[in-house]
Each structure stands twice: as structure tokens, then as C-alpha cells.
């Protein structure tokens, strides 16, 4: 774990935003996670306060190194956030807080501060290109026996996704969508080699891996 590199991905914009925070505490009052857990590390303003402390320590020549425990607590608070954006909606500065949380999670992920299940998800995506670690070959299994076209060219592509491809009850949603498209007489197809869209990686900070998946899907299209 390279805790000293935590928040090193911050550019001038993020750093200045954190110092510009007016500390009015509006975001604290509206955060649903903080109101439920009462854990300070989930409160948006408190997280900014703690991260600003880390940045200041890095900028000051006599600043100390961040403690592993402190960084872990911040990371835990970052991952408990639902990214609902209520903090952003009440911020008098209109500060893009959702963007900040995503950027922080990216840094936490890269420095090994991400939660254990997220690493397991990355392993699953690397191995089988889906978040459930089910065999990639069985991704289109839901379409067996149905009139599901797989064409080289079509007007519409139905991107099924991991949940609808692998999760039992949700497969019916994929089947129903296919039935609607057929009934509408749409010239459509599913991708021959679809992989995870990468959204779970975007939300968890694994942007690097997400870009690989995106490129695979774009090539398939």
C-alpha cells in the first residue's frame, strides 16, 4: 500500500477547490449516509477537511506523512458515499463534488486503499469480463432458443450488460426487450463479443480497467 501517494492524482483544480470550500457545512446536513450512520468520515465536508489536511502536509516542506489509519478511514468514507449528488446540489459554490469523490476513489483504488470486494471485482473482470466471475462464453446463454439476431451490421444495438446477461430473474428483462424489438420490426442485434460496460469500475475508481473494457466494446460495435 502506497499511502503517501494517496491524492497524488489531484490537479490544480481539485486542490484549489478544496481550499476554496467555504466550510458552511450545508453538505453535511443533507448527506443521507452521514445522517444514517453518524460516522463523520461519511460527511462530505469532513472528508474534504481531512483530505485538505493531507494535501497541506504534502505542500508544506515540514509536513508529515499521512497515517495509514487516517487514509483508510477517508477511503472507507469515500466508498460509503452513494454518489447521489445531494452535497453538490446544496453547495453554494456549486462545487462538482461528485466529480471529486470519483477522483478520490480513483486515487484510493490506485494506492491500494480500495475495499477488498472491489479488488475481487477487478479480478473477476480481468478473468471473465463480467462482475460475477461467470464464464464469458455463457454471456449470451440467455438468448438460447430465442429469436435473437447477432449481425455484423444493424440500425440498433441492444447492449445487454452483466446483470441482465447473468442474473436469473433479470434475464427475463433481456428477453422482454428482445421481444419488444422484434415486435417493433427493428433492425437490431446484440454484440457478438460484449463485455462489462465498466460502470462499476467507474464508480469504484478503477478507471484504468474501465477504459480497457470500453475500448473492447467500442471495437465490437
Amino acid at each position: 500500500m502506497q499511502v503517501e501517494k494517496f491524492l497524488d492524482n489531484f490537479g490544480r483544480s481539485e486542490t484549489v477547490w478544496m481550499y476554496a470550500c467555504s466550510r458552511c457545512g450545508e453538505c453535511v446536513d443533507v448527506c443521507p449516509v452521514y445522517n444514517e450512520t453518524a460516522d463523520k468520515y461519511t460527511a462530505p465536508g469532513f472528508k474534504i477537511k481531512k483530505m485538505r489536511g493531507l494535501i497541506t502536509n504534502k505542500l508544506l516542506p515540514f509536513g508529515g506523512k499521512p497515517s495509514v489509519d487516517g487514509a483508510k478511514k477517508i477511503a472507507k468514507g469515500l466508498y460509503e458515499c452513494t454518489l447521489c449528488g445531494r452535497c453538490w446540489s446544496v453547495c453554494p459554490y456549486n462545487y462538482d463534488l461528485v466529480g471529486l469523490w470519483e477522483k478520490c476513489r480513483e486515487s484510493a483504488f490506485e494506492t491500494g486503499l480500495a475495499l477488498e470486494p472491489l479488488q475481487q471485482m477487478v479480478d473477476a473482470l480481468n478473468a471473465e469480463k463480467n462482475i460475477f466471475k461467470r464464464p464469458h462464453a455463457r454471456r449470451t446463454e440467455w438468448a438460447k432458443g430465442l429469436d435473437i439476431p447477432i449481425k455484423e451490421e444493424a440500425d440498433t444495438i441492444f447492449f445487454v450488460g452483466c446483470l441482465l446477461s447473468y442474473r436469473g430473474p433479470l434475464k427475463n428483462a433481456a428477453k422482454a426487450t428482445a421481444a419488444i424489438l422484434n415486435a417493433a420490426g427493428e433492425n437490431w442485434t446484440i454484440l457478438k463479443d460484449e463485455v462489462c460496460c465498466g460502470a462499476p469500475l467507474k464508480f469504484s475508481g478503477g478507471i484504468r480497467y474501465q477504459e480497457q473494457l470500453m475500448e473492447t466494446n467500442i471495437r465490437a460495435i
Binding site: 476554496a20 460527511a43 469532513f46 456549486n94
Partner: protein, 189 residues
């Protein structure tokens, strides 16, 4: 058939300029806006008196007496309300840092020395002999302490992320935000 409700589009990334910040600050707390505005005026007029005093000529007296002195007196009242409001709310206590609390201590020192300095010229001070007795030994040193503490506060507030660094960061950000928006638009295109 019910008419479809029009949903206003919310711009992302959000645009920020001085007017949105001021409106936002007012919405959050009028007291906060008043406190910061007065503090800004006092800091600027204080620095003008100290640094440009010899060149101000006839302006020195009105700036010192009205712009710095009387606004300073009002600031003392606003500060009392502000400090009560800040420390009385869980949300502000949650986000306040050690530096912010040290800032408050600096303000208290500045207020005490400011009132002491001004007390020489204020006839009302004689109505309160108790205050006069307490202030009189400080009168000689108060102006010097007032000025020195201001500069210490400026240095402290910039080195550690205090009030002044917050103000500078806000100004920088708002002045540069349009550039950032342009970059994002180009990426989208």
C-alpha cells in the same frame, strides 16, 4: 392526457461565477456574508492605513475613523453573533479545522486590541470606569499588537489553509473557471 412536465436541464459541469457564489452564501447565511464582507473591508482598510498612511494625506483620518473604526465597531457585534452561530451548529463544527479555530483566536486578539486603541478617542469609555481601568495599561501596546497580529494572521492563514488562503483560492477559482468549462466543451465535441 396529462401534459408532459418540462424538466429543466441542469448544466454539468456547473458554471460558477461571483454572482452564484454570493447568492449561495446569502442563501446559506446572511450573517456569514456580512461577517466576511466586513472582515474584507477591515483588512483592506487596515493595510491601506498601515502601508499607505504617509501618502493618504487628508484621507487618512476618514479611512481610519469611519471605514476602519466604525465598521470595526459594528464588526465586533457581528463577530459575537457569528461565533455563536458557528460554534452552535453541528454542521459547522464538523467541517471546522484547527486552523479555523486559531483564526477565531486571532480575531479575538484583533478585536480586543482594536477596541483598546479606539477607546482613547471614545468619550463613552469614561461612562464605564471598569473598562477604562482594564484597557488603560494596554493602550500603549495595543496599536502595535493590532498591526503585528494582523500580519502574523495573514502569514498563518496562507501557510496553513486558513481564512485568507480560502479567500485567495476562491478568487483564483472563479477567475479561472470559464477556461475549465471551455476545455470540457472541446472534449465533448
Amino acid at each position: 392526457m396529462p401534459q408532459a412536465k418540462e424538466v429543466p436541464e441542469k448544466k454539468y459541469p456547473p458554471d460558477v461565477d461571483y454572482s452564484t457564489v454570493l447568492k449561495g452564501m446569502n442563501r446559506v447565511s446572511l450573517l456569514d456574508t456580512t461577517f466576511h464582507t466586513m472582515m474584507g473591508i477591515l483588512l483592506i482598510t487596515g493595510l491601506v492605513i498601515d502601508l499607505l498612511g504617509p501618502w493618504l494625506g487628508g484621507w487618512l483620518h476618514p479611512i481610519r475613523e469611519y471605514a476602519h473604526g466604525y465598521i470595526g465597531a459594528l464588526f465586533v457585534l457581528v463577530f459575537a453573533a457569528y461565533i455563536g452561530s458557528v460554534l452552535g451548529k453541528r454542521k459547522t463544527r464538523t467541517v471546522f479545522t484547527v486552523t479555523n479555530y486559531v483564526d477565531l483566536v486571532f480575531y479575538i486578539i484583533l478585536i480586543v486590541t482594536g477596541v483598546t486603541t479606539a477607546s482613547i478617542n471614545s468619550p463613552w469609555i469614561e461612562w464605564f470606569p471598569g473598562i477604562a481601568n482594564v484597557l488603560s495599561p494596554l493602550v500603549v501596546y495595543a496599536p502595535a499588537i493590532h498591526v503585528v497580529i494582523t500580519y502574523i494572521w495573514i502569514a498563518f492563514s496562507i501557510i496553513f489553509p486558513g481564512g485568507l488562503l480560502h479567500g485567495l483560492a476562491s478568487t483564483y477559482l472563479i477567475a479561472h473557471l470559464k477556461k475549465k468549462t471551455k476545455i470540457v466543451k472541446t472534449r465533448e465535441e
